[in-house]
């Protein structure tokens, strides 16, 4: 769906400003149906990468293909694409209803009032129809942006820091809406600092560092990344092996952790002792831990 191959972007800030090397050989692939998250520190190049996918920035070298075509401003490839910018760069002089209608009609089709009303109703914005966007909160503006995905069948949705500045209730509502859009078959590319949120939504993640993708993988792989411990739970009242750590006892249920190299020893122990094993799984870490591990390690683990 999206292919970026060795993309380099550099530009000057201002006429005589310093040259910024925003992307330095970024390569990634987003597959159809993915909920893909771009993760990275400030200035890593996440937004720049997204601008390249949207045709808002032309790479100095390398290749970007979206839906099989090179993105260009206003090109027909955007017929199934929607974008929600990080900052509220909307037409602030329009009302909620006018903006929803306008953004939806930019897909070149006449939009019946009923469709606009239904979309606003679904997003809980019906009572704010006549409110100018300049007076709306960021969450309300984001909903106006998302309304276009409800009016049209969006194939590909780009979200740039979508929940930044939203209150927790709004974040939850927004998350549900995104899940719904994703379940309807849309591919979503999201760029966010909120790793816990990515953990809840995304299925694939790319970690960008200094303009380059250093890790691109399934989220589940990143959550068990380079893990050395197994979580175990078994029934037993007797002596436990000395390599079992973080022991918790709940009645006769014992929970704990064992090192990866002791897995077979533990299996032998439970078999010989005739213990009933409830759980034995590679211990998961949070995306945040994984992210810091990768960033500090300077790249993907071996």
């Amino acid at each position: 769906m999206i292919i970026a191959d060795n993309v380099h972007v550099h530009f000057r800030r201002g006429l005589l400003g310093k040259q910024v090397r925003a992307l330095t050989g970024l390569s990634l692939e987003v597959r159809e149906g993915d909920f893909f998250a771009l993760v990275g520190q400030n200035g890593a190049g996440k937004s720049t990468a997204m601008y390249c996918f949207l045709g808002l920035l032309k790479p100095n070298s390398g290749k970007v293909q979206v839906l099989g075509r090179t993105p260009d401003l206003g090109s027909p490839l955007y017929e199934g694409v929607a974008y929600l910018p990080e900052e509220p760069h909307y037409h602030l002089y329009l009302t909620v209803e006018e903006a929803t209608r306008y953004y939806a009609s930019l897909y070149g089709k006449s939009i019946p009032t009923k469709s606009v009303d239904q979309a606003l109703e679904r997003l809980g914005m019906a009572q704010f129809k006549t409110l100018p966007l300049s007076k709306c909160s960021k969450g309300m503006k984001q909903k106006v942006g998302i309304a276009q995905c409800l009016i049209h069948e969006t194939r590909l949705l780009f979200l740039d820091e979508p929940t930044r500045g939203l209150d927790p209730l709004m974040v939850r509502e927004f998350r549900e809406t995104l899940r719904d859009i994703h379940q309807r078959g849309a591919t979503i590319v999201m760029n966010s600092h909120v790793l816990s949120e990515i953990e809840m939504l995304a299925n694939r993640v790319a970690i960008i560092e200094r303009g380059k993708v250093i890790v691109q993988d399934e989220l589940r792989n990143l959550l068990t990344l380079d893990q050395e411990l197994y979580s175990v739970a078994f029934e037993g009242n007797g002596v436990v092996p000395d390599y079992l750590t973080s022991i918790e006892r709940l009645g006769n249920l014992v929970k704990g952790s064992i090192p990866k190299e002791k897995l077979y020893d533990f299996m032998d122990y439970t078999r010989i002792s005739g213990l009933h094993l409830h759980e034995c799984s590679l211990k998961k870490i949070s995306l945040e831990d994984s992210f810091f591990k990768i960033i500090k390690g300077g790249g993907a683990p071996a």
Binding site: F11, S47, Y51, L54, G55, L56, L57, L73, G74, S75, P76, L77, Y78, E79, V81, A82, Y83, P85, E87, H89, Y90, H91, L92, Y93, L94, E98, R101, Y102, Y103, S105, L106, Y107, G108, K109, S110, G145, F158
Partner: protein
């Protein structure tokens, strides 16, 4: 395509309706015009009434020329400054189409205002028992055509430069100024100054005068009509010539502005 154009034009109309800067600009000029119009309302002489009508009409037309610049400037600068175009260009709406819609909207608003001013002038003529002169229509058409050129020129300047620089450039670097400058250099040469630098300056000023757009392309020919509001049969051709000039100028400005708009980083 038609649907896209329609959607953009309607939104641009909403922009003009709700632009406080344009509203303030209009109010200032309307107050000034009202102040000019008040004294003649109490004078009951035909000649005086015509002079007043002429003055009000000229002032309003002059105002519309300034406003045309504002219409072209604000629609581009506001959307570029707010970076709202990224919402437009990430949909199947090309910069060419958006720029066309912005230009058409500005021209349509300008046309509407010219119609109002012409209607007002005709109403005043009738109110003051003056004949409704064809010159009113001629001047309105001539000024509207000049406005179209100004809109396109200001759109181009605002696309390539900061609005403040665009306004300064438009006010300082205009054909009339260079025409006067050229006349001055020629007068100096005729008075015996044969310095090569002055000759070079005269040539430079002459070419700059030719390059820069003119407000009234046939101003020398239509000056009399603007003053007397009387039109001869042969004078209407100047409206056509002006229209051709404005079309060529607008097309040039449009393509350069489009090139600049496409190369801009809308991020």
């Amino acid at each position: 395509m038609t649907e896209l154009l329609r959607a953009n034009v309607l939104v641009n109309f909403a922009f003009y309706r709700r632009s406080r800067l344009l509203l303030a600009f209009m109010l200032v000029f309307l107050v000034l015009t009202a102040l000019i119009s008040l004294p003649p309302l109490f004078i009951n002489s035909g000649v005086q009434s015509f002079n007043s009508l002429h003055e009000i009409f000229s002032t309003l037309n002059g105002f519309l020329l300034f406003l045309a610049g504002g219409l072209g400037l604000f629609i581009i600068s506001s959307h570029l400054r707010n970076r709202s175009l990224k919402m437009v260009f990430t949909k199947p709406c090309s910069p060419a189409l958006w720029l066309t819609s912005a230009f058409l909207s500005a021209v349509a608003v300008s046309f509407l205002l010219h119609c109002i001013v012409l209607g007002g002038a005709a109403a005043l003529s009738l109110g003051w028992h003056l004949p409704v002169r064809a010159g009113l229509v001629f001047v309105s058409m001539d000024t509207f055509i000049a406005s179209v050129g100004i809109i396109a020129y200001m759109m181009l300047l605002t696309t390539v430069a900061h609005p403040a620089i665009a306004v300064t450039f438009a006010l300082i670097f205009n054909a009339d100024l260079f025409y006067e400058f050229q006349r001055w250099t020629m007068a100096m040469i005729r008075s015996g100054n044969s310095s090569p630098a002055l000759h070079a300056l005269e040539k430079l000023v002459h070419y700059l005068y030719l390059l820069l757009p003119m407000v009234y392309a046939f101003g020398k020919k239509t000056e009399g009509i603007h003053n007397s509001l009387r039109v001869g049969h042969g004078d209407w051709k100047f409206v056509l010539y002006s229209a051709v000039y404005a079309t060529v100028l607008s097309a040039f400005c449009y393509f350069v502005a489009l090139f600049a708009l496409q190369r801009k980083r809308h991020i």
